[in-house]
Amino acid sequence: MVLAADAIDLARAQTAFSLAFHICFAVFGVGLPWMLVYTEWRWLRTGDPVWLALTKKWSRAFAVLFAVGAVSGTVLSFEFGLLWPAFMSKYGGALGLSFTMEGFAFFTEAIFVGMYLYGWKRLSARAHWLTLWPIAISGTLSTLFIITVNAWMNVPRGITERDGRVIAEEPLAPFTSPSFGPQLVHMLLAAFMCAGGMVAAIYAVGMLRGRRDTYHRRGLAIGLTAVLVAAPLQLIAGDWAGRSAGEHQPLKLAAMEGLYHTGSNAPFTLGGIYDDKTGEVRGGLEIPGMLSLLEGFSTNHVMTGLDSAPPEERPDGTLVHGAFTVMIVLGSALIALSGATGFAVLRRRRRGQHPLLPTGRPWLLAAACTGPAAMLAMIAGWEVTEGGRQPWIVGGHMKVVDAVTGSDGAAPIFAGTLTLYLGLAGALILILRRMATGGPSGEQLVPNRPSGPSMPSAPRPRDGGRGTGPGRPDRDGDGSDGS
């Protein structure tokens, strides 16, 4: 039993780590293409080289992020079988349609990414822009298909089991999970917030270092628009997701709130540490009756607490409540910033000031924090979803402990994954940092370039990544990173 517990912890840790790693890239695959659709469209319309510079810069970052996302996603599809063979044996059939459709969405994305990244000179400017659309659409659809799987694991529907064997599955089962709608909207908004926030953060840092040119201003404006428009919408989506959890996974909601005692007049608790032994939250901010009010619109509404399930069937309240608090605090901060920025923009417009976006030091510092805040909130949100599902791998049908591999290779494989991924992430950060610093590539802003849409001189990674012009490495800008 001790051995099994070790195996299960390792398998869970490995899955959590690989998923977190993958999601950090996948969000850019969802968000960046839509932003590229906008910037390249502006360039097509105006011929303004600044729009082209932004497009090129982001497309190169996208190339790297997409590739790492693609290979880490492949690892995940294998890991389902390697780490959770019993889960896949039993429910693989039910999830087949979702994964197949996700596979084709990924196919479409990969094909058009190839055309987009390497087709600068082979396609007309307009055709090149059009290749972004299938990328953006299939990236979003990939999210949709994957969320159907996760929603189904949380709140399964459409399967009939007898004597531990699945005897009937509806092919469309994953699409019928009531958890699908709220999870999908919540995740898509999160992806936009993360991608937009990281872009905003990079340009805000650049501006804080004194590079206050049009290039930086526009980059900041686009990223900040994405994150700050999505943030208030996320409040609605999050509320929907919370209600869905309350209805279909009451124990998850109880863990999120650190609510032990079933009953009416349940408090809304933010922060603090849920104590497993006493069932109390220590040091949290408690609003009496608020949770009942939020969920049932009355303080008399009875909320299910963790005490309604035997201890071995409860999710880990400490972890889930902690992650939930992180997500709520960061999300609220982003919503507050969204409101403040909106207010400032309106005021500047009334006064006829330009640019509309406030770019004082405190504003830029706040903008620089949006990216990391959104990423952290997203990871915490996934911890809430997955931690709150415990101890089930398929809610009410199969426990995580029954799904795990019995092999003893788990420890070295996990150590290997950890080393490999951390090494790759480190290298990637160095590369993105080089891309991020120093402003647009010099070659894109040379004087006398034709102002209308033309065949741009592409970065030429085909020949090993060096050089956009004759003999000149495509270091961005003047090569100084301001440090």
Binding site: A63, A67, V68, A70, V71, S72, G73, T74, V75, S77, F78, G81, L82, W84, P85, Y91, G93, G96, L97, F99, T100, M101, E102, G103, F104, F107, T108, A110, I111, F112, G114, M115, L117, Y118, G119, K121, R122, L123, P134, A168, E169, P171, L172, G406, S407, G409, I413, L420, L424, L428, L430, I431, R433, R434, R460, P461, R462, D463, G464, G465
Partner: protein, 330 residues
């Protein structure tokens, strides 16, 4: 033919596509590893240029096969996952490192270590993956794999031989394909003889390995070998004809014919194995009928596959056509 059989046919088609397209990308990495002499740099450039726009799309075939396996034949995937973890983990390391190293070299501009380091990572990991997948395939044919001994597949001489054969086959494909890419531009035309020689070398190694593996095959995988003798001889003959035809066509500078013939050589071998493997998925452990998911689910997947292929095939053709010619110069 049941819907499970049909799904299996679709999976072998996917596997063939992965071998002929993705396999050649890995084979390019093998030649990157083996590039020597004053031309080495331009060889590596040609390899990098020819796989750049397509490797991600080619890679998706593998995801397609894995998804079809775990959705269509879930118990088989459970067995594969718990007893082939060593070769599969090795293949994954190769896949992750190959992809990451490729983009890090292409876009990194040296920010995360010199490009040639990533070049070496790219080349070595490109060799690991086909080797590990060859070992995996051999284990499915011999059935010598168990949950209690994950090292078993890597101890088998036949398995290791199949791994080498897979590397040689991908290298052969890549060399044949690269001849055409090299011939497409005067700048790289001097590389044609280099890759022609390599294609010959690859073909010879494949032939020698195949002959050496035959007795082991009969001994280690008697069930599949028996069916192989009964069913697969025409396909193997086709494969041999394809191999010879590819070399003849290369000698005459008919690069397109050479590509098709090389594809026939590798594809014939794969189908020969697949047909001999049927109806076992893992010999002695799992058959198609044991493992098939309920047929409504498989039918739903087949509809999704057909719909998906209708959507992705036209852009895929456009992708390959777009990059057949060298980049226009301004």
């Amino acid at each position: 033919m049941t819907s499970a059989d049909l799904l299996l046919v679709v999976m072998v088609i996917g596997l063939t596509a992965y071998a002929l397209l993705g396999g050649a990308d890995f084979g390019g990495g093998v030649w990157d590893l083996l590039a020597r002499g004053p031309d080495a740099r331009s060889q590596r450039r040609l390899i990098s240029a020819s796989i750049g726009p397509v490797w991600e799309a080619n890679h998706v075939w593998l995801v397609f096969i894995v998804v079809a396996l775990f959705s269509g034949f879930p118990p088989a995937y459970g067995v594969v996952g718990s007893s082939l973890e060593i070769p599969l983990a090795a293949a994954l390391v190769g896949i992750v490192l190959r992809g990451a190293a490729y983009v890090y070299r292409a876009y990194g501009a040296g920010a995360a270590g010199p490009d040639h380091w990533w070049g070496h990572v790219f080349a070595i990991s490109s060799t690991i993956t086909p080797f590990a997948l060859g070992v995996t395939g051999a284990a499915l044919a011999t059935g010598k794999m168990s949950t209690s001994d994950p090292m078993e597949p890597v101890r088998s001489v036949f398995g290791l031989g199949c791994g080498l054969f897979a590397v040689a086959a991908t290298a052969f494909l890549a060399a044949v394909y690269l001849c055409k890419d090299a011939g497409a531009s005067p700048v790289t035309a001097h590389l044609v003889p280099v890759f022609r020689r390599r294609a010959f070398g690859g073909a010879v190694v494949c032939g020698v390995l195949a002959l050496a593996l035959l007795p082991l095959f009969a001994h280690e995988a008697p069930v599949v070998a028996g069916r192989f003798g009964d069913r697969s001889v025409p396909l193997v003959a086709l494969s041999a004809v394809g191999g010879v035809a590819a070399l003849v066509a290369l000698g005459r500078n008919q690069f397109v014919v050479a590509r098709l013939a090389a594809g026939l050589a590798v594809g014939g071998m794969l189908w020969g194995w697949a047909i001999a493997q049927y109806p076992d998925l893992i010999v002695g452990q799992v058959t198609v009928d044991d493992a098939a998911a309920p047929s409504p689910n498989i039918r739903a997947m087949l509809y999704a596959v057909v719909g998906g292929l209708v959507i992705v095939t036209p852009p895929m053709i456009v992708l390959y056509r777009l990059f057949t010619r060298p980049e226009p110069v301004e």
